[in-house]
Symmetry: D2
Subunit: 336 residues, 4 copies
């Protein structure tokens, strides 16, 4: 259950609500929000009876929540969340957003060249990794802090908001300075220390689904962010690990329409990691938008084969333009 | 390697080709086809050198095949196969075909009512199970032979070709009389005795991918049909088994564009089994067509909740009409 | 619910019980057994109240069954089933049974040589495939009927009961004549036409778990055999399909102690297919017995690398002897 | 390739070796070790020819490494690593080590009581979580720093070395003070920031396999620790995520004998998380040791049902004693 407090609720009244929750045998979790303050009733095994809480001073309403995730659920917020980054709106009924760029930040010259071309092709945001999570300690780990300055230049020169992955909580402050959306990679979806650090930042977080995460685990990871105070969360499906060996991952598009039913958060899809093969990215990008994704994360390059990393799944600019044209057509599909 | 024989090749010349293949240490597999006769060279671990075969009398050409599947591959047949059933063309650049109907054949009256409504909604073919594979021996197993007569009436009254699953090789002859396309279900994808029986039938076969079949295993199952003489094969993706518990199966749409690259056979998608939830079938149907599927198999009913089987994933007629409208719009996507 | 009839129950009384079940809105499924006749009450969504049935003439008792599988469950038969094949007892507290032999029946001379050596090494039963399920239509499909005569000679000369896979219901009668235990392979676990054919045979059936079968689906497949009249069923775990690429399959030993809790049927393990690598078969054989398997199916050969099929996972005779010694030591573990 | 330097190699000579590696087009990665210094040649796509390096001053030998992991492989170190913690030896031919304790540290009194009982039952090390990774932000997150003091008391009073999970790199120093083995949980296996922090600690690390990690990814995660300077690594299999829904995870015991072939690092198994059900932990513990695990991590409690967390999979003390007896018997199995 979520107890929503009135905007004029006093600290003493709020404390009284928490005491009552404890006396009923549950645990209160204050949920600070931009527009309202709420107290989540947790520790319950069955539905909570709100009768004892609804009439306390300072209480606006009590919302029953039947799922383990609360703040991310449509039960708590029925209307779509829209994330605004500079002039880009992502979520709700905004047009699907194309986010593109190289896997890794490369030299400044090459990176700026990709950014300009991506913008021309139709990208509304830029993606590139400064810090790269690599299976091998001997592989290229990204250009690091140096790359952050390159990303700042992309923002300044082309007006493209930038998405980049954060791997280490010690980098959060520096990254928040240079990029617009902080990405949590699939490997870190349940790195709760990192999620807690990001909950305290006033920047949107793009939260990739872990390769073996259930839908509930994914939404619960998002719940860490919202419960910690950051409600600007974009979910990103990027493929799960299955027995199927014909693609790098198995893009689980089934999850997209269900996420949109269960949660108010926007959901985007990364077809590049999802399929892992350059010549199938456009097909899967189409499929993602067709089933309800509100944006795409696409690895693109003016010369894909020369990419520092993930060359096999990076598309060229003609393909990126094609994806942008597909988005325009698919935008005409009836709302589901 | 595939050795293609000239149309005027004599039996003696063909036998000489087979002898030469054996003398090279391989096994010849004659491949009777409608338009040509070929001999597949099998048992090789590496590429076969065609020099000794290419110049024998009666040999038209030698085609190198680098995949374990041969007759289903684009290496052997570069152009798309198109399956024609009555007035419906499936595959190639034909418009995507909507195949719809109830999970099981119900009473004749109800079944005819569904068929008429499905045709009105835009279905071009009818699907319904006479024999049902059921996990439990105590569950409804379909109306059996009685249902076949109902299916014949659907064909006669509404001109809809009929797809229905064959579970038992003893039923093949009876089913071939009453239905237009014989379906092999996911559980029987590697029931080789059944595949051999169907290889001898002059009816198209719709071959569902097994729930844990790799792409290669699926194409090899199709190869059993083609190698046995039946080249009218439609592939059908219907979801694989993974850890994901939010949908009945995990629809593996990644496989669709790859199948279209590797094989000339048409591929359709069954979003109903793929997602297993009525309110997400339309979204996944869109995604399937968007990424290249050439048809859809959709469970539909005038009153889904009263379906004899699979009620949870059966859509109503308004949804079916919506899917038909989606197909029209998606037909405008550029070819990939 | 299972309604057990008295041994002197008349046909009329049995019919009256069935009528009563129907009048309660359920479906009666007669379950002919060697020692008793029972009527399974099916079609119920919740627990059935036995009051109306318990006191009918001819009724011995009513057993509540909370699982979808009934006859295979310990609720219906609490004591272990023991399958007796010639002088070999498998199940219950019998010593773990080592079943060994080549993947395929080879020439008669080679096959007899393996059988003799396997018996010397400690095998109590012989396994070898006459008909082989092969992913490719071009691969060796087994020696077929000719191999059955070889298997008969193994029985006669060495007194070893023989296990062999049946792929086609048309082969059931011929195989029942030559072999002692009919194996259903993983690919056919839900080939219900084959299961029905085997339910009518008076021979034990070894039922392999499908590569993506849940525990419930596996037990339900066994239920088809028992419900059809054959209660001599041995379950066999042989590995499931997962993302793990370091072994041919992922041997799911977790299932073994659970099967033994839920079902009275004996369970054996096939470590050869489970791991797919010769040098790890003995380790997994040990693990299987340690967690409760009542037998092992091991591919063994006097010269493994020359095996017609599955050479990579076939062990030599020294390894087979080692496995037999392991069984003796592991037999000293306390009962769980 | 690994270039091993002589113990008397000068800094200048080492620099010359690195220069030569660069001039060959590769990247040198210095590998500081307790007993020797080595330089790993990385960035190669094919085998490196050691001729140009082998004869440089200061070079002891050049070791070819064919796997992506180098320092963890038997190619680099053929003999088993043995980790010594206080008086406990883990790995090599040491007797299998039983590590037991509650899922979470509970009150000091309860925790000490469990520790004493576990020692009596046969445990050689103690395990308990101070910081708990929880899917939900609202669930009990462990007693944190307060719990570390309780763990110190366990060490002091009962002489049991302590294993506990580290979730946050900021906790590494504090935990290293209070516990003997730092555990990396499955969710953090590829939290490379955490791995780098642990590479700098002089304490053994127990590295759990991620729920969807391939064998190579797991060994590469260990490689991060060794490449960073910490060669005291214990691998721990705890179950993978598959479609199988009858157990919490699917314990992948197949991996155990293969890890022992490929790596010199010791491997232990956690049957509690692997199966997730109290009444099957002992069976799986047996299986783990039978196939080659060198230790067990078992959740145990004097009153399992009152456990703060993971009550379903926590065994009682009688079961723990039984596991200890099993270890004694299984120690008599022949070496593989």
């Amino acid at each position: 259950m979520l107890v929503i407090l009135r905007s004029d609720c006093t600290a003493a009244a709020a404390a009284a609500v928490e005491d009552m929750i404890r006396s009923l045998g549950y645990r209160p979790v204050p949920v600070p929000g931009a527009n309202r303050t709420a107290i989540c009733v947790t520790g319950n095994k069955a539905a909570v009876d709100g009768a004892a809480l609804r009439h306390l001073p300072g209480v606006l309403e009590c919302i029953a929540v039947t799922r383990p995730y609360k703040l991310v659920s449509r039960e708590v917020q029925p209307e779509d969340s829209v994330i605004t980054v500079a002039d880009v709106r992502l979520g709700g009924d905004a047009a699907a957003v194309l986010i593109a760029g190289p896997c890794s930040v490369e030299t400044e010259a090459r990176t700026l060249r990709i950014a300009e071309a991506a913008r021309t092709a139709g990208a509304r945001m830029f993606r590139a990794g400064a810090f790269k999570p690599r299976t091998s300690p001997y592989d290229f780990q990204g250009l690091g802090h140096e790359a952050l300055h390159t990303l700042s230049r992309v923002r300044e020169e082309f007006g493209l908001p930038v998405v980049s992955e954060v791997l280490d909580k010690d980098h959060v402050a520096a990254m928040a300075e240079h990029v617009d959306v902080l990405q949590v990679g699939a490997r870190n979806m349940q790195n709760f220390a990192l999620l807690r650090a990001l909950a305290g930042v006033r920047k949107p977080v793009l939260l990739k689904r872990g390769a073996s995460a259930t839908l509930t685990e994914w939404l619960m990871a998002a719940e860490y962010l919202l419960a910690g105070g950051n409600d600007q969360v974009i979910l990103c499906e990027r493929g799960i690990r299955t027995f199927a060996d014909h693609s790098r991952n198995t893009l689980d598009l089934n999850v997209v329409p269900l996420v949109r039913q269960l949660s108010h958060l926007p959901v985007v899809v990364d077809p590049s990691h999802g399929v892992g093969a350059r010549d199938r990215v456009r097909a899967m990008a189409r499929a993602a938008i067709a089933c309800g994704a509100q944006g795409l994360l696409v690895e693109a390059h003016f010369d894909p084969s020369s990419s520092y990393t993930d060359a096999d799944q990076t598309v060229d600019l003609a393909t990126l333009q094609g994806i942008a044209r597909d988005l325009a057509l698919l935008g005409k599909l009836e709302p589901l």
